[in-house]
Amino acid sequence: MRVALVQAPIDVSAMLAEVSTASSGATTLFLGTVRDVNDARAVDGIEYSAYEAMARRELETIAREAEAQFGTPHIVVEHRIGFLALTDISIAIAVSHARRSPAMDAARYVIEEVKKRVPIWKREHYADGAREWVDPTRGHAEVRR
């Protein structure tokens, strides 16, 4: 199991290699990517920031929970921080397991818990020059130009 916050682009091949074992019959790779529209507004990119020490701690807690719940230590999670352009990977979760169901369920568990608990924030940059903090609990927090 390994988790990390990274500034550089995520190396998905390296993560897949890291969870690859002879006893694994299934590997799941989940990627979160920056898309070009949100709430019908054209998006240019997203700036991610974090309470880094706590974010690492929470990511590790989540990965350990997945490890215990789905029975595999072969879990790697990387979340990228900084400015990301369209199509860039913001989060990658790689899991391998002897069986496909727990491999898929573990990846799903990790991304859902990340969205609930890990102190990471994003500010969307829109094509019209506006910047806005994303608040999943009530839409969007504020607009700045």
Partner: protein, 81 residues
């Protein structure tokens, strides 16, 4: 009186114009007391009634005690992934 360091992030840091505050609180402060002091600062009207709070990198409750050396963080709604 005790001095507690409070960290602010993202939209909350922007609202209060800083990423950290030194807050004066009374004896045996709780999370709710720290929040009340933060609310007295300019820009704090944008904080919701019960924001998420962490003490030393762990989520805390409003009635949890806060020590002088503790790092208190007010956590905006998370949006990772």
């Amino acid at each position: 009186m005790a001095t507690v360091r409070v960290l602010l992030f993202a939209s909350y840091a922007e609202a209060l114009g800083t990423s950290s505050l030194e807050i004066e609180v009374g004896a045996e402060p709780r999370v709710r007391d720290v929040l009340a002091s933060v609310r007295a600062r300019a820009g704090a009207t944008q904080l919701p009634p019960s924001p998420l709070v962490a003490i030393n990198e762990r989520y805390a409750r409003l009635d949890d005690p806060v020590g002088e050396r503790d790092e208190v963080a007010i956590i905006p709604p998370v949006a990772g992934g």
